[in-house]
């Protein structure tokens, strides 16, 4: 098993290398650069040209790439042109914000997904299942930006239950209980917005698995043994039906740090998704490169974690 894990991690190296190259080439096609948006009248166009020359913006992409790789190998991912701080520091701050928001979102997603999926599968075709199906269609059709705006309008603007954005109230002392509660308070509405939209997949997979297993041969065997219906569900149907959902959890771990661009944007939550979008708009290439590579690494780690979970819960699958 350790061999497999090591092998997978080693494969990451060429993957990251190819990906970073692609990102650099693609970035060279993008119009504009980090200084395009600066229209400060106190800075003369000549000065901007001078800066472009000085920062190497006119170098061909392979020269830029070589420079970036040399720095990256020594742990320096560059400095953000818009925030004027090292990329690692910037991402570090944002990653923590996104992590907590995503964790809360995932929690809500799985609580809704698992409970609705089980109910839907068990009472397949009954009114309660139809109601859940209606909800999944609605959630699937609803873009998160739309629901986000609706939620802000009702719960923040009209009812004033939640703040409209940000992470914490102004003037709170970090480390105090009220600071902690304020952060949770700020996360709740974006988390709920995502948490009611994302469970669709979990519900549908779980439901179809349960419906299939209900009529499977080994469930028939269990019935022929005189096993009570409740035990048939817990021991035979659900244990098997949860396998794909458990495997899916690994991929969601990538989401923990990747965050949701749309929800973070709507709630002006300073997380990774928001940072990613901002960096592209400001042509802050150092940040964009670092983020894309981070997302790629997370995705590969997610699949690896999925495989590890599968081998832990399904005796038929063993990582060698």
């Amino acid at each position: 098993m350790w061999k497999t894990i090591l092998r997978r991690l080693l494969v990451l190296i060429p993957q990251v290398a190819v990906l970073s190259l692609l990102v650099f080439i693609l970035a060279s096609f993008m119009p504009g650069d980090a200084l395009t948006g600066k229209i400060d009248p106190n800075v003369s166009p000549e000065r901007l040209e001078e800066l472009r020359e000085k920062w190497g913006f006119y170098d061909p992409w392979y020269v830029k790439y070589g420079r970036w790789v040399t720095d990256a190998l020594s742990g320096d991912l560059g400095e953000s042109t818009s925030y004027k701080i090292p990329v690692t520091e910037l991402i570090g701050n944002r990653a923590a914000n996104t992590f907590w928001l995503s964790l809360l979102t995932l929690g809500i997603t799985y609580i809704i997904g698992v409970s609705f999926g089980v109910i839907s599968g068990r009472f397949n075709g009954k009114p309660v299942d139809k109601a859940i199906s209606f909800y999944t269609f609605l959630a699937l059709a609803m873009p998160s930006i739309v629901l986000g705006v609706i939620n802000i309008y009702f719960f923040s603007l009209k009812l004033n239950w939640f703040p409209m954005g940000g992470t914490v109230n102004v003037g709170m002392q970090p480390g105090t209980l009220s600071y902690f509660l304020s952060r949770i308070h700020h996360m709740l509405l974006p988390a709920i917005t995502g948490g009611v939209l994302y469970p669709v997949g979990v519900i549908q997979i779980l439901k179809s698995e349960i419906v299939d297993y209900k009529i499977s041969d080994f469930v028939m065997t269990a019935r022929s043994k005189g096993v009570p219906e409740k035990t048939i569900y817990t021991r035979h149907i659900l244990r098997n039906a949860f396998l794909p959902t458990a495997a899916n959890l690994g991929y969601d771990i990538a989401f923990l740090l990747g965050g949701s661009i749309f929800i973070e944007r709507i709630f002006s939550y300073p997380g990774m998704g928001n940072l990613f979008l901002d960096s592209i708009l400001r042509r802050d290439y150092a940040v964009v490169n670092a983020l894309i590579i981070l997302f790629a690494v997370l995705t590969v780690l997610g699949t690896l974690i999925s495989d590890i979970i599968m081998s832990a819960v399904d005796p038929r699958i063993r990582i060698k």
Partner: protein
Amino acid sequence: MEKNELLRIDNLITSFRIDGQHYAAVDGVSLSVSENEVFAIVGESGCGKSALALSVLSLHNSTYTKVEGNIYFKGTDLLTMNVDELNQFRGKDIGMIFQDPLTALNPLMKIGEQIEESLTFHMKMDKKQKKARTIELLEGVGIVSPELTYSQFPHELSGGMRQRAMIAIALACKPSLVIADEPTTALDVTIQAQILDLLKKLQKEMKSGIILITHDLGVVAEMADKVAVMYAGQVVETGAVGAIFKNPLHPYTRSLLASVPGVDSAEGNRLHVIEGMVPSLKNMEREGCRFAPRIPWVDKSEHEEHPEYHEVDKGHFVLCSCYKNFSMRGEG
């Protein structure tokens, strides 16, 4: 009622709902199984054998299936019971062996756990006793290293081993009746013989009754005491195995027997094939003799309008009068 009658099925009708209408897959079957008796039910695919077997323990999905008639087990009607009452019988008094041991075992549970499960719900045993009994069962069904198999998962066993484990599950609580639904169909020929020998040996030891569902006439001749031949949901001929094999009367029984390839049949002889196919549930003609479309050379007047059972010998019944002057095509 016979003295040691175990199970009596009276006019069983099992119908499936298709597009809002019910179609009977088992259509008025009556039969009786005694203690220490192997009762074979034989017929083509789709003739209602398995539907009959599953009806005994009400294992059909109740949403789509209607089961009418009476099934008396030691005098009590199983069909009037609710699930909780049935669960007292399932696994304890009546054990069930399924066709495909590959899918009939839970892939996530160890073999030992799956056998112990029936003990848990029917026997007052502690953990140690259960394990001891399970090991004993595994040994009894001819598994070489029961201790190892106890903690193995189904995918780690061969098909034959899995079917042995399945038999151990069915026999765990020493049921007085075992329903074996095509227990050897999914297995290799060599393994089939082993499993049949095992079943026979265990049946003799435990003196239990067996309902053996099969489409293999060889198995019937080998194992059974009595046999019922089913066609299109009905029993067309029933009697002692010796009588049926020596003196098959119903055209369907005769055609089936003629379709068995013999080792000693002359070279160049073509295998007998029954014309046509078993009608599907929806398109089945339910009036008159159901086998008539497959023996088109027999004159209509030979069949009865409402086929009845004729007792040709003691305990040997044949449905419809078309057997009387029947000759196979080509026999003249």
